[in-house]
């Protein structure tokens, strides 16, 4: 235990928040190491020494290796970390907003809302919505996904909240019911898609970072970066909400505005993540929960730590996805679901719905 000395001579034992900050630092270092490691994983052999030699101009890579590193693995790494951090943070924000640790954009269906927005834009962007698509340019699918996620979250919040309290049963059941409706609409639109659109939809639906290129990064990264940069400012709101809306109001939070900001933050980060990577589940559930059981629920460090864990988990899962059945590639969504599904059941069994 580190001891801080006060001016009046008393010693002050460090609480878990001091420990938590140390862990955030350790996680940041680990995150950098994992990121570097992931650049070396794949069919082309690029060990860490060659990587550094290339970074510092000591040894030039072959043209082919250079393309693999800078045009394939780098954009994929950046997308992986942004998607992982965004999904984890939107999970943590949603759990704080709904005051329930089981609220996750994937579990309650917000990702489905985002999918609907994306599917509408993919299929109708060449016909009915061509004007909108032209105005938004590369941002058309991400923005459509954000709007889909936002609408879904708003409706879900209205269904599941009674006088500021969220009912878990209503939240999960409302998510299922809304998800069914959204699924039906997605099915209907898919039915009318042509061959090209169908191919695009299928790849996208599987949840994968394969085929991420720099233009794709540029189309969705800014949206995710905006929310991630706002995260430190959301912590006070979420801590206030944990003590109920009345206390949040007393400590200076404009509750109605804060709710709007939080819902928009969830919608943007989930929407942008889903638009680029499809259905990657459970990151938003697993990462904040791991932080909560080890470091505690204070959002000042819960958000950054969960973001880092989300990024690490996604980078690791993506690295596994591209080598486990090499030379083919497993969709990333399958790996996160294989790990996340049992984790979710474990959380339910240990009473996560009522205790945390």
């Amino acid at each position: 235990m580190v001891e801080a000395t006060l001016t009046h001579g008393q010693s002050l034992s460090s609480g878990r928040s001091d420990r938590a900050w140390r862990w955030v630092t350790i996680l940041s270092i680990f995150f950098v190491l994992v990121a570097l490691w992931s650049l070396t994983v794949g069919a082309t052999d690029l060990n860490i020494i060659r990587l550094f030699n290339s970074f510092f101009g000591i040894e030039a890579l072959s043209r082919r290796d250079e393309v693999v590193l800078y045009q394939i693995r780098f954009p994929r790494l950046i997308m992986g970390m942004l998607v992982g951090a965004s999904l984890a943070c939107s999970g943590a924000i949603m759990q704080g907003l709904f005051r329930n640790p089981l609220a996750d954009p994937g579990v309650v269906g917000v990702s489905l809302g985002a999918s609907l927005g994306a599917v509408i834009m993919i299929v109708l962007g060449n016909s009915v919505l061509i004007g909108v698509s032209e105005i938004l340019g590369v941002y058309d699918v991400p923005i459509a996904a954000c709007i889909g996620a936002w609408t879904f979250t708003l409706i879900l919040y209205a269904i599941s909240s009674i006088r500021g309290q969220t009912s878990v049963a209503l939240l999960l059941l409302g998510g299922i019911a809304l998800g069914a409706i959204v699924g039906a609409i997605v099915g209907l639109i898919t039915y009318f898609a042509d061959d090209n659109e169908l191919r695009e939809l299928t790849f996208w639906n599987m949840g994968s970072l394969a085929g991420v290129t720099w233009p794709k990064v540029i189309s969705s990264a800014p949206l995710m970066v905006i929310v991630l940069m706002a995260v430190p400012f959301l912590a006070k709101m979420l801590n206030g909400f944990a003590m109920g809306e009345a206390v949040a109001n007393h400590i200076g939070i404009n509750v109605q505005n804060a709710k709007r900001v939080l819902i928009v933050a969830v919608a943007i980060s989930t929407g942008a993540a889903v638009a680029v990577s499809g259905g990657i589940g459970f990151i938003g559930l697993v990462s904040p929960h791991l932080v909560r059981v080890t470091l505690g629920p204070d959002h000042r460090y819960l958000l950054p730590a969960a973001g880092l864990i989300g990024a690490i988990l996604l980078i690791v899962a993506d690295s596994i996805a591209r080598v486990i059945i090499a030379p083919a590639e497993l969709p990333l969504g399958i790996i996160t679901a294989i790990i996340g599904g049992p984790f979710f059941i474990w959380m339910l069994l240990r009473g996560g719905g009522t205790r945390l």
């Binding site: 008393q10 034992s13 609480g15 006070k236 109920g244 007393h250 400590i251 939070i253 404009n254 629920p297």
Partner: protein, 260 residues
């Protein structure tokens, strides 16, 4: 240097709880609102805390409460609710630091949470889980949180307001006195204290002014010797009450009349 309420009316559905209530609270005073159940005490304190919609005006230091942005209001007044349910397993220190996060002097005094815990008799509690504490301990943690938020009774020459909703309802007699002392010191330091209480004896002992509510209106308003009278109490509380005066301090105290 005051907080005043003008023509305050609140109605739930069709039931009028407060009907055109007006009064003024002075900074530097400990004002205590008393009255029977259903007299409108809680509604008045909720309106003062900004939790309750109302018709009329509440003016803090010359500004209409409804026009002051929340962040600014949080630097001018702190509110201790009767009880607070926390949805996540926060430690005591984390809760008190939430109060600190709303204080304008948080950067200058990052260890204020420690002073607040000490003041509320909670030294050594910082790493305990809030949800594992007793009701009375939780109430004192909330008090410490609000003290952190408004530590100085006067900030930048403007008095701050300390609003307490039945602050001693879950406390033993020792801690009741401790909490009342904290509030009294805040008023003595130049801040304004407004509390809702049920205990008439404690209120008479500590208050600079008492406001007796009945049926949503002010029945009497003044010093304890005036308000705590057998006439007032027998009308408002519909019982036989015996009011005596403590010889040493000239403070009234109330006993129920013994019925044979």
């Amino acid at each position: 240097m005051s907080l005043f309420v003008k023509d305050l009316s609140v109605a739930y559905n069709k039931k009028t709880v407060l009907d055109g209530l007006s009064c003024e609270f002075q900074a530097g005073q400990f004002s205590i609102i008393v009255g029977p159940n259903g007299s409108g005490k809680s509604t008045l304190i909720k309106a003062l805390a900004g939790e309750q919609r109302y018709a009329g005006r509440i003016v803090i230091e010359g500004q209409d409460q409804q026009k002051i942005p929340n962040w600014k209001l949080a630097t001018m007044r702190g509110v201790v609710p009767q009880s607070v349910q926390v949805s996540v397993p926060f430690t005591v220190r984390e809760i008190v630091e939430i109060g600190l996060s709303a204080s304008p002097t948080r950067i200058k005094h990052p260890h204020r949470w420690h002073d607040a815990l000490e003041e509320c008799g909670l030294q050594g509690f910082e790493n305990l889980y809030y949800h594992e504490l007793s009701g009375g301990e939780q109430q004192r943690v909330q008090l410490a949180r609000v003290r952190c938020q408004i530590w100085e009774p006067v900030y930048e020459d403007v008095p701050r307001w300390f609003i307490l909703d039945e602050p001693v309802s879950s406390l033993d007699i020792r801690h009741q006195i401790q909490v009342m002392d904290i509030a009294k010191r805040f008023a003595a330091g130049g801040g304004g204290v407004i509390a809702v209480m049920h205990d008439l004896n404690l209120s008479a002992m500590y208050s600079d002014r008492m406001i007796l509510l009945n049926n949503g209106e002010i029945y009497d308003n003044g010093e304890a010797q005036q308000v705590v009278s057998s006439d007032n109490l027998n009308t408002v509380y519909h019982q036989g009450w015996e009011v005596n005066i403590r010889e040493d301090k000239k403070i009234p105290y109330v006993l129920p009349q013994i019925r044979n």
